[in-house]
């Protein structure tokens, strides 16, 4: 039982991180029907912006809530700019071109970020600074609830609530949903579609940045290719939940995180990464639209 609860805690924590990244995939897909392969590298950039900004601010060894929040904030802003530029420079010029062109460009942008990352940051893994000191908040028998787990969970939860508010209740969020339904019709209502698309990239990238910081804290080695595997898993999580569907991405991510922890916890850690692909194959076979996704049915 104790072991079970421990795995559940770890799973929720991992799932939260997947969720932060999965949201960016699903939001961009929802609005452009584009799989933004560069998204996982924006997440990587988030971790590195965290690293360099904490050095720059001189807080790399001053753990505390304030350090954590400042680094998180700076990284989110930094990645917003990165995400904005990627859309503006790489994807927007291809709007209207066949979808495949944009997809190939996305792969190109991803490789560009990974290899410029290796040139600029170096290929060897670097230690992420100690911006928050981990501690057991609760130790009951064999179950440990650490400060990091709670931080990861609370950060994710707060960001999700903010996101939900934006999407459901603000003018921007409504416009985002309108554009994702039909961009041409949205423009006929006076909605500046390009601006809304930029905002989608900005928001998705900021969430990925938070993922990068949280991962940097928990698994404190970061390197320019760190996005590949986690990005793939977050993408599978988005597909599992129903790509384009916001709640689906969170649900899929939690399922992925928990499933992965259990696979590892119960001795099959060699299959850790294979799990994602197993899940992907199963969804594609049995429920291609994902758990919450609807296959496109349009009312005429």
């Amino acid at each position: 039982m104790e072991e079970f609860i421990q795995h559940l805690i770890n799973g929720l924590s991992l799932g939260s991180i997947y969720a932060l990244i999965a949201l960016g995939y699903t939001m961009v897909y929802g609005i452009l029907q584009l799989i933004n392969f560069a998204h996982s590298d924006v997440y990587m950039m988030g971790a590195f912006i965290g690293l360099y900004s904490s050095r720059f601010l001189g807080i790399q060894e001053k753990p505390g809530l304030l350090s954590f929040i400042s680094v998180l904030f700076i990284s989110m802003v930094g990645c917003s700019i990165v995400g904005f530029l990627i859309e503006r420079l790489a994807y927007r010029p291809l709007r209207g071109a066949p979808k495949l062109n944009a997809l190939i460009t996305a792969i190109g942008v991803s490789l560009f970020l990974q290899y410029s990352g290796q040139i600029v940051f170096g290929a060897t893994p670097q230690s992420f600074p100690n911006i928050l000191e981990d501690a057991d908040l609760l130790a009951l028998g064999g179950v440990h609830l650490t400060l990091f787990d709670v931080t990861i969970f609370m950060t994710t939860l707060s960001l999700m609530l903010i996101l939900r508010y934006i999407i459901n209740s603000t003018k921007l969020g409504k416009a985002m949903r309108a554009v994702s339904y039909n961009g041409q019709w949205a423009s006929l209502m006076g909605i500046p579609v390009n601006k809304i698309i930029s905002m989608t990239f900005i928001i998705g990238s900021a969430l990925a940045a938070a993922g990068g910081i949280l991962v940097g804290m928990k698994y404190p080695k970061i390197e320019p290719l760190m996005g590949t595997m986690i990005g793939l898993k977050a993408f599978v999580a988005a597909v599992l939940g129903g790509i384009g569907n916001i709640s689906g991405a969170v649900l899929g991510a939690m399922i992925m995180g928990i499933a992965e922890e259990f696979v590892v916890g119960y001795g099959a850690s060699t299959y850790r990464d294979a799990l994602a692909f197993g899940i992907l194959i199963l969804i594609l076979l049995f429920r291609p639209a994902g758990i919450l996704g609807k296959l496109n049915v349009e009312k005429v």
């Binding site: 003018k171 409504k174 019709w185 423009s187 209502m189 006076g190 909605i191 005429v300």
Partner: protein
């Protein structure tokens, strides 16, 4: 108010509009009629900026809008309720109406007041504010589409087949409402399959055939013109 001058529009290398010129004056209801595929919707799409003309020009209140993006054209007070209604099925009815008012900087109270005014024209829409728009019936969706466009306070309203697929009584209602909207000061450019009804409420009309304007006249004249009767009014 709107002047379309020798408009030519292509899809790839197919000429959809070859030479379209017409004019809409303030306060008018103008109809474009023509067979399927004549180029009526293409004309409206080009006016709204969704298609870039190959040549020719479009003037709204004496200013060329040919190069403006769609959302800026809306800002000038030119709104379109597109073919197939174009409602956002994933948004609620109320959210759809809010999107109609997207460009307006007016106060919440004023927008609310305008919404009440729109509800007076379309009481059915008011009953369903919280409903997801995709679950409305076809007629209700059409009413929502027109309500939504009105929320943008258009000076000129383009309507693409507002009566499509509706039951005869509702068609009647829709045409009456179009007349009413017009009498409240909104200029209207109407595209209709239902040529008889459209001509009855129009001040003037243009007949479009394969991308060309082939005839024009007062609504009442065209209604009795033998050529129009034969081609579009079923003899």
């Amino acid at each position: 108010m709107l002047k379309v001058d020798k408009l030519k529009v292509c899809y790839g290398n197919i000429d959809a509009l070859k030479d379209i010129s017409f004019e809409v004056k303030k306060g008018e209801i103008i109809s474009l009629i023509g067979a399927n595929g004549a180029g009526k919707s293409t004309t409206l799409r080009a006016i709204s900026g969704l298609l870039r003309p190959k040549s020719g020009d479009i003037f709204f209140e004496n200013k060329s809008i040919k190069a403006l993006p769609p959302h800026e054209i809306v800002r000038l007070g030119l709104l379109q309720s597109p073919e197939g209604r174009g409602i956002f099925a994933n948004l609620t009815v109320l959210e759809n109406l809010e999107m109609g008012a997207y460009t307006r900087k007016d106060s919440k109270e004023l927008i609310k007041k305008d919404m009440e005014h729109v509800f007076a024209l379309f009481p059915r829409v008011k009953e369903r504010l919280k409903q997801v728009a995709g679950t409305l019936s076809g007629g209700e969706q059409q009413m929502l589409a027109m309500s939504r466009a009105l929320m943008g306070k258009p000076k000129l309203l383009l309507l693409d087949e507002p009566s499509l697929g509706l039951a005869p009584q509702i068609v009647e209602t829709i045409f009456n409402i179009i007349k009413k909207i017009n009498s409240e000061g909104v200029t209207i450019l109407l595209v209709e399959q239902n040529a008889a009804q459209a001509l009855k409420i129009s001040h003037r009309a243009y007949v479009i055939e394969t991308g060309n304007v082939v005839m024009t006249g007062l609504g009442s004249e065209l209604l009795v013109s033998p050529k129009v009767r034969e081609a579009y009014l079923g003899g």
